[in-house]
Symmetry: C2
Subunit: 250 residues, 2 copies
């Protein structure tokens, strides 16, 4: 596979960086091609704006997604965006690796999504979920976090991890058409031992060796929804944070 | 009340801007003080990094949240962050107004949260949820979106809006200690009529006139969780996207 790793961490001596390096080495040893977008090192601009387009369809007022659609058809993206689009289109698998900040991506990575997941290529004009522009590719979030796994169980302080990551795993990666794998998570990194950190690196390497064959998370097909955007009668919704659902049923 | 509106939209002639202006006017007419952080106009830097601190506790390697804690105790934030912290501490209510991009905030606003919701004032050392630094204040997301309401029903294409916004409303605003109000949402703004847009402005104004008395969304208290971070026996979890849960039970 061609694997694109998008990485966001402000500190090169972080555990996150060690995890990145181990991931890259492991994937290359397994015969994959790996490209890394190290957003902090690139000083990637995360702020979507008028400067993202080299020509405009609606010059009077910026309608960002409509200009994305126009730029997709006319190769009119700024060079920094086009370079990332090229990497995205060339990849078979996307890994987003980041420290979990406020239960989502750091802003520099959110801006990579805002600017690179463009209307007209990734989504739009019927492209979404199993018709999404990224159909046939896999994606995974690889996360480091200060929180404990018990906190993101169904009855945990923060509710299930699925729910916290829904906007990313379903609303972003799934929407774009990726087959989304279960996230890799290294927990409570601030409060752990060097041995435990080493074990996380090993677990990540182990996970990545089988990543091309891993079964993605379940997802609905577009055909399961009616013209009213609701699941057709008789189709049970995919559960979200399933243990929470199960508990609520008790 | 003192109301802080944090606003992120790249286009001053947008519907989002009209909604902001109507909101400000309405709140002032009702006797509230209003401060606006217009992030695009301010060219707010959303990228958390070493430059955010005027002195460092751990100069060798950046541990962002630990430096936040140190800076909170030593008044060592960069001036752009300190200015926003001052607004946040002075407010009785926070409104985050933004176009919903990938089911979350635009990067420029995510970075406002990353850099301004600091360890040592907003969270950390036991500050969270009903012990959070923002306890006693209210917060609300005010959203414009291209999607349709049916898509974020429990059985909709995107799953319930509660689930999509969980990372923000529970994991960020709730975690910080705010009483979180139901979001205000203007739907399918691209595809609507001038009359419908005017009706959204009126609905927002109507909503804001009663905002000081509105009942917040339900939330667990910290005391309902055990030392294992799980709900104590006999306490039913707050439902998330309740119609989805109800459907799963049928």
């Amino acid at each position: 596979m061609n694997v694109l790793i998008v990485f966001a961490h402000p500190e090169p001596r972080s555990f996150g960086r060690a995890l990145l390096d181990r991931g890259v080495a492991t994937l290359r040893e397994a015969g994959h091609e790996v490209v890394v977008s190290d957003l902090y090192a690139m000083e990637f601009n995360p702020v979507a704006g008028a400067g993202d387009f080299t020509e405009r369809r609606f010059p009077d007022a910026l309608q960002y997604d409509r200009e994305q659609k126009h730029a997709s058809a006319h190769h009119a993206f700024s060079p920094d965006i086009q370079a990332e689009i090229d990497k995205l289109q060339a990849c078979d698998m996307l890994i987003l690796q980041f420290p979990l900040w406020w239960f989502s991506m750091p802003a520099i990575m959110k801006g990579w999504v805002d600017r690179v997941f463009v209307n007209g290529l990734v989504y739009g004009s019927g492209r979404r979920f199993d018709s999404g522009g990224m159909k046939g590719k896999r994606a995974m979030a690889a996360i480091t976090t200060a929180c404990y796994p018990e906190m993101v169980e169904a009855d945990g302080l923060l509710a299930h991890l699925d729910i916290n990551l829904w906007h990313l795993q379903h609303g972003t990666l799934g929407y774009a058409g990726f087959d989304v794998l279960h996230p890799f998570t290294a927990w409570s990194i601030h409060y752990t031992t060097p041995e435990k950190r080493a074990a996380y690196l090993d677990a990540y390497a182990q996970r990545l060796r089988g990543i091309a064959e891993e079964t993605p998370m379940p997802a609905h097909r577009l055909a399961e929804f009616g013209s009213d955007w609701r699941l057709k009668p008789g189709i049970a919704p995919r559960t979200v944070g399933h243990r929470r659902v199960a508990q609520a049923q008790e």
